[in-house]
Each structure stands twice: as C-alpha cells, then as structure tokens.
C-alpha cells in the first residue's frame, strides 16, 4: 500500500521535530529514512504508525485519509530498536499475539494460528525456538522474532525503527541482507529508520536524507551518494574534506587561502577522490603527513596543509608503494570536487571537517 505524507509538522515543546514535510512512498518500495539523531526521522515513522499525532498535515494510506486512525486499526507492522517483545510469553505466543487479540469473528482457529505462526517462524529461520522465551535469545534472534510478530497480522506496511541499531556489526550485516530478501518476497511497502549511511545505501530502494525536520534529498542510493543535492547530504554520506575555493567559471581553484573564503564557494572532496604522490603533481599542493591509520583494506592518511587537516584514503598497495612516514611532505590534487555556494552551506552549520 502506498503512503503519502502531506505537509506534516510536529513540535515537542520548543523543539521542531518535523517542519512542513511531504513524502510519497509508492507501494512495494523499501525506503530508508536517513539522518543524524534529532533530525525527526523516528518521529516521522511513529506518525506513519499512528503512535504519534502530527500537529498539522495529513497521512494517507493507499489514497485514504489515515491521520487520525488509531495505531491498532492501521494495519502496520512495527519493529522497535529494542525489540519490545513480550517477556512473559514464549516465542510462539509472541508471534501469535496479533492473531489472538482479534475480535472473535475474525480470529483464526487454533490450528490456523499454529500453522501461520510456525510458517512465520520458518520464514525467519527460528522455528526451532518456538517454545523458548525472549530472555533466552540473542539480540539478532529477538529482532527476527519481533519481525515475525509484526508480519503475523499481515500488515500492509512494515515500519522498522533502527531495527539493527542494538546489534553488533556482523549480525547487523547478515540481517540487513536478509531483510532485503524478505522484503522482496513479501511485496509490501517498508520504511526503515537508520542513522547508518552504509545500511541505508546497501538495503534501500530509495533513501530519504533528513536533517532538522526537513528532507534534504530523496533518491536512489547511488544518486544520493554520487550527486548529493546539498552540502549536508555530501557531508552526511561518508567522509569529506572541505576546501574554501575561488570560482573561475565552472572550474574551481582549490586553495586554502584567507581571501578565498570571501569568494563565497566551498568545495567538497571525498577522501578517496584525492590523488596523493611523493613526487610533485602538476597543479597540486603540498601537505605534511601527520598520521597514517591502517583500517582493513584501506589506509587513511591524515595530512596537514596550512594548519588544517586533510584526509586521504589510499588502497593498501598504493600506500605500501609510496612509503609514507610521518612528517614527510607529499603532493595532493583532488580528482573531482563538488562545489556549493557558501550560503548553501551556512544553514547546515557544520564544522569544516567530519571524520
């Protein structure tokens, strides 16, 4: 079922969580709401679920007004970050809960409930845990049970609030792929909230990048990463170096001089888009090596140029062939940069560097 969000606003006291926000989620899509903490993404999800009422604006489910429909009548499945399983019920009863609380005329028979619940437990590959209690499961298992419980009521929309936030990296990765497969099998609309850009880019069909109650950009994972619409999106999706630059037509001369700031443009360069060499590069600039971090397959080199820090990412092989002791002077040159007018970056209020 499609979800339309029209001009939603929500405040908590003086804090504006959502400011006149509109969003369309077509049927069958897996959408990620991505943003830093406090950007309003969870509030938006809770408004879609009916757990929060917007101050103004409408929510439409499949074209029908649903703003004031109670959570229990919305037919949404909701998965919480901390699972919110019923502790005193077995795994089986947790999943069966949504069926057992139906009014008597709609309630399936005991045999049907059994069949449905065991089917769902097979789907999440945990049918052998049916008689256990939530306290006896690991975090990843609990979250899969929570998902099975949400799916038991055959929701038209599946909402997930930081579903993998409380799990360790490895489990998180497996569950991500598994959620993607599950979504493709179920043919329902899913919306999940995350602050992890990698998670959003890997799993979602579309990514909605949010900041301070606004939507910064909506697009496919590739779009938002490779052509960010605003400095905020650029900075949020991965590491970035910020250069204050002078604009010469379409070509930006990247420099870090005092008067360049007055020129009014800022260039963003990803750490892996910077060329680094020990020999002089035509049009490059010099910098001193300050730290070298080896992070798995990558080597992150922290450079100092004119009192400021620049990050460059190299492959392990490249770093080995260059031999970069701390203190050495190297030449750098951006391969590609994205330039935004300085005013555009001002409201984001970001520091020049993000690590």
């Amino acid at each position: 079922m499609s979800i339309e969000i029209r001009n939603i606003s929500k405040r908590f006291g003086n804090f504006v969580a959502l400011d006149d926000l509109s969003l369309d989620i077509p049927t069958g899509e897996l959408v990620a709401l991505l943003g830093p903490s406090g950007c309003g993404k969870t509030t938006l999800l809770r408004i879609i679920a009916g757990m929060e009422t917007p101050d103004s604006g409408n929510v439409l489910f499949g074209g029908e007004e649903a703003t004031h429909v109670h959570a229990r009548e919305r037919q949404v499945g909701f998965v919480f970050q901390h699972y919110a399983l019923f502790r005193h019920m077995s795994v089986f009863e947790n999943v069966a809960f949504g069926l057992r609380v139906r009014p008597r005329k709609d309630r399936p028979s005991e045999a049907e409930i059994r069949e449905r619940v065991m089917g769902l437990l097979k789907l999440v590959q945990l049918d052998w845990l049916a008689q256990r209690y939530p306290s006896q499961l690991s975090g990843g298992q609990r979250q899969r049970i929570a998902l099975a419980r949400a799916l038991a009521v055959e929701p038209k929309v599946l909402l997930l609030d930081e579903p993998f936030g409380a799990l360790d990296t490895k489990v998180r990765k497996e569950l991500r792929r598994w959620l993607r497969r599950l979504h493709d099998e179920m043919h329902i609309s899913s919306v999940f909230v995350t602050h992890d850009q990698e998670e959003a880019l890997e799993v979602a069909d579309r990514v909605v990048v949010m900041n301070r109650g606004h939507i910064e950009q909506i697009g496919s994972p590739d779009e938002v990463y490779s052509s960010p619409a605003s400095p905020f999106v650029y900075q949020f999706l991965g590491n970035v170096n910020v250069f204050h630059s002078r604009l010469h037509g379409s070509w930006a001369e990247v420099e870090r001089e005092g008067d360049a700031r007055a020129a009014g443009s800022i260039a963003f360069v990803r750490p892996h888009d910077i060329e680094l060499d020990v020999a002089p590069i035509a049009g490059g600039m010099t910098a001193g090596v300050r730290h070298v971090h080896r992070i798995g397959p990558l080597v992150r080199v922290e450079l100092e140029h004119d009192g400021e820090t620049i990050e460059v990412e190299l492959t392990r092989e490249r770093a080995a062939s260059l031999d970069l002791p701390v203190g050495k002077t190297v030449w750098i040159k951006p391969r590609q940069a994205k330039v935004f007018a300085a005013e555009a970056t001002a409201p984001a209020g970001k520091q020049p560097f993000l690590f």
Partner: protein, 298 residues
C-alpha cells in the same frame, strides 16, 4: 597448570560474612523468640493443646481474623492497583500530596486510626449515619474490622506496585497496539502478567500485616466473643488472666497457619516470576557465536 577454581567468585566479596550475618540476625530476632514460644507450648499435653486450639471461641476468632484479613487484602489488591496505576501514569494537580497521603496509615498510631474510624462509622458518626439508613452497620461488627484492616494495609500494594509499573516500557504497549490489541487486551495480556509477581507480593504483605493487626481493630470491632473477636485479642485476654500457656498455644496456631499461607503465596510468586524463564538448560543466548545466528539450525 593451575587448578581450576572450584566456583566462580562474584564481583562483590563477602558471601560467607553476608550469609553468616544474615543467619545470626534472623536467628536472634525471629527464630529464637518463635522457638521459645513453641517450647512453651511443649508444656501442654497434645490433648490439652488441641482443646485450647479448637475451643469454640478460638475457632470463631480464627475465622474472623483470617477472613477479615483476606477480604481486606483482596480489596486493597484491587484498589491499590488502581491507585498505583493512577499515581504512576497520569499527571494531575496535587499528585505529590496524594502520593504522600498513601503512606499516612504507616505513620499513624494504629490506635488513633481505630478510634477515628470507630467514631466515623458509629451509628451516629459522619459516615455511619448514612450507612445506618441503608441498614448497613459498620462499627462494632466484623465489617468494621475489615474497614480498619483496609485502612491499615493500604500502602503495601500501592508501594510495591509503583516501581514495577514505572518500569513498564512504553514500547511494549505500542507494540501491542500496533498488533491490533485493544487497551483492555494490552492491559490483561501484556501488562498484568508483568506486574503480577509484585502484585502478589503487595497482597501478601497486606494480608500478613492484617493478620497481626491489633491496635486499630479492637476499637472498631466491638470485640464480641464468637462474632467480632480477633485472635490477637483473645491472646491478650488470656494473658490478662495469667493463662500464659493458653496464650502461646493460640499464638502457635496463628504462627502455623500464617506460615503455611505465606509459604504457599511465596511459591506461587516464585512460579509466576520464573514461568517465562523455564527451560533454563538452554545455553545463555549471549554465548552464541554471532556468525551462527542466521544459519544456525538444530
């Protein structure tokens, strides 16, 4: 090779000291006095003990004591739950004042409570006169005993439930709502099982306190033998007649009944608290290798 330690040490040391202290303390304060009491009854022959314990007046007093206590504890269990729920869940003006009011029966001398209640519920009292018109007599009847016991044991259920209700995660209720449960279903199926052990504790405390209550009851009960005489009063009157052995015999009977009931309730409580963790033979969940989660099958 080092020998493996026989048992794992806890984070905090002092198990032996702690246990030793606990046992000494309980022995001195509880076990020795109670043991002495039982020894005292040993001076009686079994037959004469049985005669005293099952005298008509004694039997009637057990009925009054345990009946009224049970009734008062049940009433407090129901209304205490409501009071605790309201105090935790809803903001309202004067909430702190009401919250403090709950403890008042603890602080008030029970005799004061008894005299006040007796005055209020007497046939010409403020409340009693209206009840009298309806044909309900409270003061100087077993009903009066129940009223006094309800008053005295009010804080127990409220105070044991409050922290537990505060601990309920809002998410669990939201999860139930999103699964289509009505408020009543959420309360009965999701919230109540969680607070049940604490509820039972509150009930037990109120019940045992009511059994031992003396001061407030004697003023409102009328103390008519066979009708509204409680066992503690019967014990006192035996003591006043220097019938020390008879008094201890009744005390032993109370002790045995109370202990049996408390033990039953404690077992029930233990069962309620541990029900959701049965089958503990399974490995603790956290011990599973994270990589095995997705593919793990039996």
């Amino acid at each position: 090779m080092f020998p493996a330690p026989a048992k794992r040490d806890g984070v905090l040391p002092g198990f032996r000291l702690g246990l030793g202290y606990t046992l000494t303390y309980l022995t001195l304060l509880v076990l020795i006095p109670l043991g002495g009491m039982i020894l005292m009854t040993g001076k009686l022959t079994w037959g004469s003990f049985w005669d005293i314990a099952t005298a008509e007046r004694a039997l009637a007093s057990y009925r009054v004591t345990f009946g009224a206590s049970l009734f008062a504890a049940i009433v407090n269990a129901v209304f205490g739950l409501i009071v605790a729920w309201v105090l935790v869940r809803y903001p309202f003006p004067g909430k702190r004042f009401v919250d403090a009011l709950v403890d008042l029966p603890f602080a008030l001398p029970t005799a004061v409570a008894g005299i006040t209640l007796a005055t209020l519920y007497a046939e010409n009292g403020w409340v009693g006169q209206f009840l009298a018109k309806l044909g309900i007599k409270v003061a100087f009847t077993p009903l009066g005993i129940v009223v006094a016991l309800i008053f005295v044991t009010l804080p127990f259920v409220v105070r044991t439930l409050q922290p537990v209700i505060e601990d309920i995660e809002a998410e669990v209720e939201e999860a139930a709502a999103s699964l289509g449960a009505t408020r009543w279903q959420t309360f009965v199926r999701v919230l109540l099982p969680g607070i049940f052990p604490a509820w039972l504790t509150g009930f037990t405390l109120a019940f045992s306190r009511a059994i031992g209550e003396f001061g407030s009851v004697i003023f409102i009960a009328g103390n008519m033998p066979l009708i509204s005489e409680i066992t503690p009063l019967l014990i006192i009157s035996k003591l006043e007649q220097y019938d020390l052995i008879g008094a201890t015999a009744l005390a032993v009977v109370m002790l045995v009944i109370s202990f049996a009931m408390l033990l039953t309730i404690n077992l029930l409580q233990w069962w309620a608290a541990n029900r959701h963790a049965k089958g503990n033979d399974a490995e603790p969940a956290e011990a599973l290798a994270p990589g095995a989660l997705v593919e793990a099958r039996p």
